[in-house]
Symmetry: D2
Subunit: 337 residues, 4 copies
């Protein structure tokens, strides 16, 4: 439940309500929304308290979020869109479409640096690169680990781009922070790894949360709620395709839910069309469609020689293709932004 106070409710009246709830064992969170005080009520109200609140002259409405368990992610809690800040980059409505690009895996110092130069030239805003790789087979390349993080960060600094990398283990949070990784990515397979969500929430860094392969929008936003409940307000959602019966493409990009997310949550959304399709030649068109559907950003893989990539080569763009993607994203987000 969300309690929305009338505009102009004096601060002491709000703290009285908070104290009343707290004394009854009910936790609350205050919305950052400036226009009026709004409280997310995290626990069930004990008997009698609902009536007491209903009688308060300060509470305008008890709003129901789009789905029962939503609290801090919901538009009822915060109507104003969240704009996530990563260094100088802004991801969210009112800002240019943010393009996140780089290699699937960090594959060595020289290569990632070269890649960073090329994606920067092409107009990307953040450098991506995997150092810990979630691989279906235990015998596949698992990434360079902390050394990979270091190489990624150095490359990002060399070209002046913030960096993002996937974290798979709660125990790695200090390493990601120490290496200066600007944004922590939680992958599709770990979307409901609640241990990881809780640990990452406390890292003090923005988080990009990918949608699980078969996660409903409700489950995805509740995973984001885990992050917010843990203290992280800088959450970027990332749609990356869902698993369906169709086998012509690797997954099915679910753009249908982009306008729905706008109604349900204030969090920004980026789209990763590469993992959805698994076919590089489809990606530029899917980037257009994503931005037209309202994406606040795009996440793509770029490789200088896709044929020799250690992972996901067939879905990587060339730098020249990225340039075109960035240009089209700019036009579309200026048209509909």
């Amino acid at each position: 439940m969300i309690l929305r106070c009338r505009r102009g409710t004096p601060e002491e009246a709000v703290t009285d309500i908070e104290r009343l709830l707290q004394e009854n064992g009910v936790r609350t969170v205050r919305s950052p929304e400036a226009r009026r005080p709004i409280l997310a009520v995290l626990d069930k109200l004990p008997g009698g308290l609902a009536e007491e609140l209903a009688a308060s002259p300060h509470i305008e409405e008890r709003a129901a979020p789009a789905k029962g368990a939503f609290r801090q992610v919901s538009r009822a809690f915060q109507d104003e869109p969240t704009v996530v800040r990563i260094g100088k980059l802004r991801i969210g409505p009112g800002h240019p479409c943010a393009v996140i690009a780089g290699p699937c895996s960090v594959e060595g110092r020289a290569r990632v640096l070269e890649n960073a130069h090329r994606v920067k030239e092409a107009g990307a805003h953040m450098l991506r690169g995997g150092a810990f790789k979630p691989r279906t087979s235990p015998y596949a390349f698992q990434g360079f680990g902390v050394e990979g993080l270091r190489q990624l960060k150095d490359a990002g600094e060399a070209v002046g781009l913030p960096v993002i990398s996937e974290i798979m283990d709660a125990a790695h949070v200090p390493a990601f922070v120490d290496q200066g990784i600007d944004c922590l990515q939680i992958g599709a397979r770990n979307m409901q790894n609640f241990t990881l969500l809780k640990a990452v929430a406390r890292a003090g860094r923005p988080v990009l949360l990918k949608r699980g392969l078969a996660a409903t929008v409700e489950e995805w936003l509740l995973a984001a709620e885990y992050l917010m409940e843990g203290g992280c307000t800088q959450v970027v959602l990332c749609e990356r395709g869902i698993r369906t019966f169709e086998t012509a493409t690797r997954n099915t990009l679910d753009l249908t839910i982009l306008p729905l997310l706008r109604q349900w949550t204030h969090l920004p959304v980026v789209v990763d069309p590469a993992h959805a399709s698994g076919i590089a030649t489809l990606i530029p068109t899917l980037c257009r469609a994503s931005v037209a559907a309202g994406a606040d950003g795009l996440a793509v893989e770029v490789h200088l020689e896709p044929a020799i990539a250690r992972s996901d080569g067939p879905q990587a763009l060339l730098p020249g293709e990225l340039k075109q993607v960035v240009a089209e994203a700019r036009i579309l987000s200026s048209l509909f932004g």
Copy 2:
């Protein structure tokens, strides 16, 4: 298998090849492609014939279509995009995004006429309206039948728009033709109703073929192959959302396959975002995304008073919203067309 002859192969050499195959019980179809003779080979080659063809100086290559059973739908058979002609309307690459709009069901002479006026004003290019309705329950409104077709056609003529309506029964083909329905729609539930496909193929009218709820792209194009095999070359594909695990939206619009269709087939594609989402407020954004993904057209439902529609009210646009959709489609298709 597709046989592609060298440019400049004399006509008699091609007919020799056709005759040779025919004498061996192998049916062929000649591609309309002007640049070189191309033959779709419909049956398996008997022993020895493959070698004989391989020795021909006129055959440049024996091309494999994207999927094994594709013949006339494939780009290997016809590289040039098909532009479907419905009256003065053209659907396909190089033409403005075609907007098909109108009520879900024809609900009476006055209403469909009023609707036609409004969608015409808003810029639509073809009037849609259901007279035979495929309803999940036998007790739901089943449509006005032939009288509905008549009212639809009259409305279309009054405003100068061609009309399209869904056909569910092979026995109704003469009625659709007699009433002058300009384009016959095959619905998602009937995509693999092969009896209907064969009958409609012989109607001599353009056909809009919706993708089945759980049809793979391969099955869908083979349904189109049924139409082409039956003599209908004027086929428009219509993506309308697939059935997935997600319940927040009615279906999941599969835009991922739009750029793939361009690689696999020469047939034009329109998108129906209303049945995919089931939520009217999502439709304008999904229309943008569809056109950006390369759709040659859009199919939407418009109702003057959605609240009282006899079917599918919650997913109908208002005429003012349609106007905006048409305007945005025009901009996008001029940008990327």
Copy 3:
């Protein structure tokens, strides 16, 4: 809505209620249930009539079926299980598990006769065989048509088994009846071919209705409702696997819904494990599981030489395997029947 009268309500009181509804434009159907009068109300009640009915001393309850639009298929309308009669065969609770077996396609007079002898010997209760084949590709073998029906019926008569075959076209109903086909099968692709459902309902023959590849249980039972609304009470449901993301098997057999069907409907259910798995070696085990899950029957394909079958060879059983399946089904249905 379902109206359930008190036990012992006099017949004239029931006809009074029926007449009252009819005069108000509301259609009703009387349940065959002997223990008390029950009426399915097919249309919405006009204002005031609900109150009038509520005041009747004869109506014990206004029951809601499991899903809103269910009427004649629901347990609320008929609590007693339907036992479908096909010649001497009985399909339903209290009767031995009915085994339907035979070739995928009728492939000639001698072959189907040989097949019939073998499945009869193995203990099957009905002979199946396709004469009209729904094929994904227009160039694949489409069946022998009416001649196939004739060969199937002759084979069935020679060995003393009723026969079942798939009907794809409303116009074929007279041919199926003339050839003496004992049970008409509606295939998965045609489950929502409402034209066909309506025509088949009037054929006066029992019908086996396969579940659509992506049909919910609700949609499937409403397809059965179309049959019952058209006058056919002898409906057998057939679960044959649904389309999911899993590609290791052709489809996923949905046995989860078998005990649910018992709660929702009085109609009997058979299971076709061959189309679900697509792998012959899995079928005997899936037959066991189906009977243990409560199936009233099994439908399997048998081929004497699967390697040369014109369709679906890889999922056909050999006669010896069928014998084992029949024996195990007998044991399981005696244990749990």
Copy 4:
């Protein structure tokens, strides 16, 4: 790749092959199979080595597992079924169907003890109970943690049953071991939490690995491969329903893959029909179907008062129902075991 040596190959010849591979940077694992030496080759063979191996007189065949990346899980590596040992319990072919039962969550010392007594009386072989609960919402009951493990173990010891509980965090491994948890469960949401798989593999305890909600059989077995690669050979697979379009049941129990698993892997499989259906009245029938499909065990939730359970009450069995399930499982596994 799997190298299968001829029967009777001398031990030194096998170690020669192992050494040759090792010197070329190729890791191998020896199969426990006694009848002949078999080696799983974990890395790609460098150029030339394949030829060298092909020339060896000791290698009978280079077998391909059912799916490319399978190694230690595959029947090609170990043909003999694995029977997992948990205290005196045996799970696998040739042993009675193992019944795992207990509360969804440990809800206090007295309750879990009472529950343990009842499931023991009903004939269960292992006590289950959640202490760390993966909940979709961060505000839902998250379990009693280590104290819950302690209560579960005490209850198990009091009635003489081994215990199983879900582990969600690599850091909890020592706590599970210290509390004497006999079998560690990896839940569906964590099936591809590779960090957790690696940590649990080193715990030296048997592991029950649930199938992910949308995991293919291939991905599931590769998750088991992670466990085996980490040194854990005592792995029980647990099918618990997959996510499909059907909403009448919570998930769809995939029994189709049970006989397929027998062909692909030597690991035993148990079925959890409760999470699949989400409806308690369906569970006893689904238990029958699972055992008939070849399940080596069943995992069910039992609650003494389902109405007041803190989680998953609607899908819990009563002790009396469990007794019936155990009895039927015994009969079925003796019939088909």
